[in-house]
Amino acid sequence: MRVSLNWLREFVDLPESAETLRPILDDLGLVVEEVCHTGGGLEQVVVARVEEIRPIQGADRIRLVTVEAGEGPVEIVCGAMNFDVGAHVPLAPVGSVLPGGVVIAERTMRGVTSHGMLCSARELGLGDGQDGLMVLDSYVNPVPGESLSEVLRVGPDAIFDISVEGNRPDAWSIEGVARDLAARLGRPRRTPVVATSPSTTKTSNYAQAGIDDSKLCGRFTVTALRHVTVGPSPPWVVERLTRAGVRPISNVVDASNLVMLELGQPTHPYDADLVAGRSLRARRARPGELLTTLDGVERTLAVKGRGLGDTGEDCVIVDGDDVVVGLAGIMGGASSEISPTTTDVLLEAAYFDPMAIARSSKRHGLRSEASHRFERGVDPNLALRAAARFVAVLTESSPDLEWLSDPLDVWGYVPEPSTIELRDGDVERLLGVEVPLDDATSLLSALGFVVTGSGTALVVTAPTNRPDVRSSAAGRADVIEEIARLYGYSRLPRRTPSWPNAGGLTARQRLRRRLRDVVVDGGALEVWTPSLGGDDDFERVNPSVERVRVTNPFSLDESVLRATLLTGMVRAWVKNYDRGVGDVVLAEFGVVFYHPNTTSQPRITKGGLRGSLSLALPRENERATVLFGRREDDARVAVATWHRVASRLGLADVVVRTSADALPGLHPTRSAVLEDRSSGAVLGYVGEVDPSLVGALEGPSHRRLGILDLDVDALCDPSRATRRSGKVRDPSRFPSAIFDLAFVVPEVVNAQDLAYSLGRSHEYVESVVLFDSFRSSSLATDSRGLAYAIRLSSAVGTLNDDDVVAARSSLIEAAATLGAVLR
């Protein structure tokens, strides 16, 4: 909200500069985003009376004008034609600087010297009138030589851009901001002039008003004005609106906008002659009713919307023929708009149910200054004061208007202001500091709260402009927040609490840290790729799999929640490869999402209104994925890295097992699953990225990209990822027997399975380590050679030859059961 300092000063004495006021406003919770100084450049501009107008020889577009500006005649060359002798116009004398920064100097045209410039409204930054000079006689009684800014009541100003919080509907106006400042600074507050003398004709003899739905509309007032002259607003109104960022339209519309900015009450003017029966009623829209709003859009009303609990109710204003003429509190209809020929005006000032306005506004995608205020809650008692202020403002530019007496005023349901009991100690219990109840009383009273009782308990009733203040315990906190706000947050004490419970990380968090450390220590750079991707990318890895979509994405490329980190990481790598920095290992830790229909373990949680339904949500799976993109990297490097990770995480035994099925996104013949030997659970995948995926993502498909894709959820689950026993195994104190065994092993037998069998074949086996694998045409078909280094030892003594021979034959026997033959 743009708030003019000059305007604030009409409500409360503020000799302080904008810079001094800024931190005060901040501390009141009226956060100033920006201060902008405006309206300078009029200091030297004065009123001049036109004394004489003469043609200039050889020129028909310019004339020589002699003016009187209090210090004798001045000759000016002027191109405007819209004035005569006797007119009062603005003069920028030589040496003055206009708002746009233009410096006025003496200029000679056609041999005639101009000693200054006569100005248009646009040149002065006072409007966009293009039709010649700003002629002042229609607004004011100017005196030559007088300062223009004084005559027009415009001048230098500071504009605060204040962000008003959602719980402060009362502050959404000049008067509201002034109220906070006056309360904080302990200064009296003035109220703006309102019209006080209506005509003798009663409004009810001329117009009608009513409420058909008292829940949607809590108060509906109609003020009638006759013999109105529609025209431009006085400069001060134009200036106020312009500085607040509102475009001036006509004196009637401008007065309505001005009152809204000033007091916070939106009002709506209708051309009375275009309202059937001069009757306005508020009612619930019927499904399918149509309305063309002022923005020219035809809208279908009372259609159930998206979102929880939206039944589609719209509150509308209808005329005497029951035809809809406006969407209540949001935007008027085009049919009864104020036009230059309007003479009679009906002004609506109302109170509507905030939630109903919020729903309608959201559903119709229509937000206006009025709807913003109504949906946060307008003071229901403000309507008639706002209407009287409207009349006072409009009378300045339409002095002959007739204001009918006793405006129509119909009431529906309006929530009662909350009353809260504030006991001794309540403030301290919440704020940690004792604010004496007497002090609390005076702080609250300054904001219009009615405080009764004393001693150990106060009874506090919120003013009608504070609908945010709730009842009971919640309301108590609301009231205490107001006390704290005026008392000053900066004065509140601080205390560092302590509690007996120790802080710390969970086992999962510790494991994740260890995993990140070991991956990073292996040379990986951690990346952050998008959680939202496109359908194409999803399809490339998980063709035809149901996916989780976002219904309102920025673009289709960011509309699907990822089910793998792979595509994002390959894309990130390809980008770096194209930059010439692809010789790297990348890693990412992140969540992927499986559609509830595609997983046996969707997340079942509370959904629906009030959390009353049970809803299946996607399974979220945290993964740690490492992409090996260095020149020499391949599946082998990924496997070696995995063994390092597994060892560091203390995993007992995980088999790198070739899968019969192709793994999504992985190389069809150079990838494997990581299978926990004792639980059988899959802990991840290892191998290379499918070269066709690299090609599809515009990368070099000839380059091998190693990949290690770990399921962090599985790694953190001890029932799936089996840990080594925590018990220490003492190394034997006796010498070990060390020898190699080479086998010819059928391709279908996994080398680690064989090592596992060998390891359990005899009690003396200390370790079995694969040290060679080889393929040769001399071997049996579908077989390869595997060579293991075997260590035997005993905890009780040195092994003799017989022991070693016995163990060796056990080893060979165990291998034979898997079809492996000693070479």
């Binding site: 998206r306 979102g307 205390r495 560092t496 770096n576 949680t605 629906g608 494997a672």
Partner: protein, 357 residues
């Protein structure tokens, strides 16, 4: 003159299809293509002869010819694809590697320094500060229902304050009822509901995590970002305790020259609410462009838990009170490392990533 009768067309078509099936390699198929469907093919010759036919016969022959051409073309394409697949499979098979056979000690990889991401580094530092202050660390899901993300946090449906969070909706359940969490606050609700169910209050936790807002990315905002949220539910917690925790954290994380201040704010889930600011880390409070010459940088929001939130999760507000605070992890990183454009965090440029440890 060749026989142009329709029976003969069928016969010729069969021959063409046989020839396609007999091509054993992609090269052979490519070599045969002109004679199958090219300008010198039988089908082309047939096409030329149509001109000499009677209109009625021409129409019938034309239709048949088209059909033959379509069959030959599609057989050709099928064959091409299956040969290509065979080629590919051959290459893949030749490339086959049983990863169980990898001899780990033979694998040589370059020794290079790796680097965690700036967000991860920052999150760990923040967690460590809070853990030392006695907090545990909790995590929650990224897809949430309206209840956890909004309603239980005292933000009822259609409430105007929802405008504070530009929300991505997920296509599950009724429209606009499942969201990508817009803040880490829903994790508070999970924690409190679980603590009530297991009768394990108090709670002293921080909750880091990824959040989403439908907001165009710029130098200071990303549509995906990270927050850390703190929650304390205990007996006799006050606003003074909240302010004290914020101050301890500020000094511990940013260093002793940096302090914090609170000013009134609004969040539906806390009352009283506050924005918290810390001394501008660039100018150390002297005032500079980054802090709009105020000497302060806004970091996050905080407040005392609103009664409506306690009520929603079933906590007795007479016995328990508490506070919550939250701020952006990425924002902290940006402040601390003078990151000019937040978007660098998702660019993943190696030259950017190499800098953090």
């Amino acid at each position: 003159m060749a026989d142009r009768s329709l029976e003969n067309l069928d016969e010729e078509t069969r021959k063409l299809l046989d020839a396609i099936a007999a091509s054993e390699t992609l090269e052979a198929l490519r070599d045969a293509e002109p004679s199958l469907v090219g300008k010198r093919s039988v089908l082309a010759a047939w096409q030329k002869s149509l001109g000499a036919m009677e209109p009625e016969a021409r129409r019938e022959a034309g239709t048949r010819l088209q059909e033959s051409r379509r069959r030959v073309q599609s057989a050709l394409e099928d064959r091409r694809q299956s040969l290509a697949k065979e080629d590919r499979d051959r290459v893949l098979l030749a490339d086959r590697l049983d990863l169980g056979d990898v001899v780990v000690r033979d694998v040589r990889a370059a020794l290079g320094a790796g680097h965690p991401s700036l967000v991860a580094v920052t999150q760990r530092e923040l967690e460590d500060v809070f853990v030392a202050m006695g907090f545990t660390v909790a995590e929650g899901p990224e897809v949430e229902t309206d209840w956890f993300n909004f309603e239980a946090l005292n933000i009822p449906p259609a409430h105007p304050s929802r405008g504070l969070w530009d929300t991505f909706y997920v296509d599950l359940g009724e429209p606009e009822t499942v969201v990508l969490r817009t803040h880490t606050s829903p994790t508070q609700i999970h924690l409190m509901e679980e603590a009530v169910a297991s009768d394990s209050l108090p709670i002293h936790s921080v909750m880091p995590g990824r959040c989403y807002r439908r907001d165009s990315p710029d130098a200071r905002h990303l549509a995906t970002f990270h927050q850390i949220e703190g929650l304390v539910v205990d007996e006799s917690m006050t606003f003074a305790d909240l302010a004290g925790v914020i101050e301890s954290f500020t000094r511990s994380y940013f260093g002793s020259g940096v302090t914090s201040r609170l000013r009134p704010g609004y969040f539906p889930f806390t009352e009283p609410s506050a924005e918290f600011e810390v001394t501008c880390t660039l100018c150390r409070g002297a005032g500079c462009r980054t802090c709009s010459h105020t000497g302060w940088i806004e970091l996050g929001g905080c407040g005392m838990l609103d009664q409506a939130v306690l009520e929603a999760v079933g906590i007795d507000g007479e016995r328990w009170s508490g506070f919550a605070f939250g701020f952006g992890i990425d924002r902290c990183a940006q402040m601390r490392h003078e990151l000019t454009d937040m978007r660098a965090l998702v660019e993943n440029d190696v030259r950017f990533l190499e800098q953090f440890s």
